[in-house]
């Protein structure tokens, strides 16, 4: 789970390929429903899913669910990554902070964010706070581990070269260490964003009244498979948009370390 983490993330070429995959999958799906007369509860036809999507878009419920999920994502990701960046930076800077935080992180890293979901439902009810807590928790660990490691593992030759040129103090921090560590810090943020989006959906399965996760579980209990699949497509599309934004940010900020594919 170290530098190779990035290979798990979708890439730029990946999204073009994903669109092709969507077309292939759509063709297979349509053929199956047309040939085998599958019951709509098991697998609805693509037009039925499109119809369900349009219905939800027309009555405004889809917009509201997306807005709820995005608000949870924004706050959860924001709080989790901020805490992660600050703690990671402090861990790289001071040994005693590292010694203090490491046992805490090593303990809580194994306590899964999703196993917190019933707990936050009891504590915070159906409010946004509980979801934000779960999302922030899910983001925090990957950010703090990657940030601390990135700042610590800067190539010693770069640091020696900087020392030889007489760069010290804040200029060394901002001009040398930070750019060298940035690619891996961004990788941590990128993975955290993917985790955050997943945990938003998962946290909404239990004890919530709105959001995309609520949308699909609600549709499932009403045996409305078309709506479930429509919701999944929306979740996937938003995930795709996020990964594109992240790729763009990456190419703009660290053009010297971008591009990954599998």
């Amino acid at each position: 789970m170290k530098y190779r983490l990035r290979s798990l993330l979708p890439s730029v070429g990946g999204s073009a390929s994903a669109i092709l995959g969507f077309i292939i999958l759509l063709a297979v799906w349509w053929t199956i429903t047309a040939l085998f007369q599958v019951r709509a509860v098991i697998l609805p036809t693509p037009p039925a899913v499109w119809h369900a999507l349009m219905m939800m878009a027309a009555d405004g419920s889809l917009r509201q669910d997306i807005a709820t999920s995005l608000v949870e994502l924004f706050w959860g990701f924001g709080i989790g990554t901020m805490a992660g960046l600050v703690c990671g930076g402090a861990m790289a800077q001071w040994r005693w902070v590292d010694a203090f935080l490491e046992p805490v992180i090593e303990t809580f890293r194994f306590i899964l964010p999703f196993s917190l979901v019933p707990l936050v439902v009891v504590w915070f009810g159906v409010s946004l706070t509980g979801k934000i807590f779960v999302v922030a928790y899910a983001c925090y660990f990957v950010v703090v581990i990657n940030t601390a490691a990135a700042l610590r593992d800067v190539d010693p030759y770069i640091l020696k070269a900087a020392a030889m040129l007489g760069v010290t103090g804040w200029r060394r921090m901002l001009g040398v260490v930070f750019p060298a560590a940035l690619p891996r810090i961004l990788t941590g943020l990128q993975v955290a964003l993917a985790y955050a989006w997943v945990s938003v959906i998962a946290a909404e399965y239990i004890g919530s009244m709105a959001g995309l996760g609520y949308l699909i579980t609600n549709a499932q209990s009403g045996l409305d498979t078309a709506q479930v699949i429509a919701g999944m497509v929306v979740i996937g599309a938003i995930g795709l948009i996020f990964s594109q934004i992240v790729m763009l940010v990456r190419r703009l900020t660290v053009p010297y370390a971008s591009g990954s594919s599998w």
Binding site: G21, A99, E102, Q220
Partner: protein
Amino acid sequence: MTGPARASLFGVRLASVGFMLGGWVVLSWLLQTPKLDLFPSPWRAAMRGFELAHSELGRDTLASLEEAAGGWLIGSLLGIALGLIIGRFALARLLLRPVIDFLRFISPLAWVPLAILWFGIGYWSKASIIVLISLFTVVVNTVHGVSAIEREVVKASQSLHLHWWQRLEVVLMSAMPDILLGLRYSLGASWGGVVIAELVAGEVGIGALESYGGQAFDVAQIMVGMVVLAALGYLANFAFMQGQRRLFPWIVSNRRT
């Protein structure tokens, strides 16, 4: 580093552990509510753990273990097979890679409601989620490993006129470090899938235990579930690392970490 400095850092580590336990106790005092025990103290949680261990905890743990292990094995085997095919054959790469790329954007956890519609509330509605989680991770890593094999190795196995299964072994072993990485990662991610699938549709399993605890406002029971899941995740990771070191001692990363 000098001796005293190391000793003081050890003191800091010890203080950190004390801080965690002490923090838990203090919080449980501060947040004590008369009717509902919303933040039980460590010993309350431990007591509840013993109680549950005598009743249903064993059954729930076994159910979760079965789901995780079954789903992970199936998903990993499928993933390795698909990865080898995609990595070696251009046609498969052309057709299957885009499909996987697309499906990967929809997180496996978003399949939970659909899995319930397809498989009901039994074993397979949870195991299928684990299959998806493992499949995608392992496929990506296997393809990565297979496509990074040196041409000389492939050429050598051709010029030695190896049988197809021997050539398969060469490819598999060359890609093994990447495959293992994917296997380990998906093993960790599986537990998240187990708990969320059981929370939504569970009768047995640790997720179901937590969900019943939540409905009864029994926070201690939820905490027991969290700790058991954490322990299982830790043990699974540890066992995997041990097995990996035993089976593949030649992999470079096995020597250090």
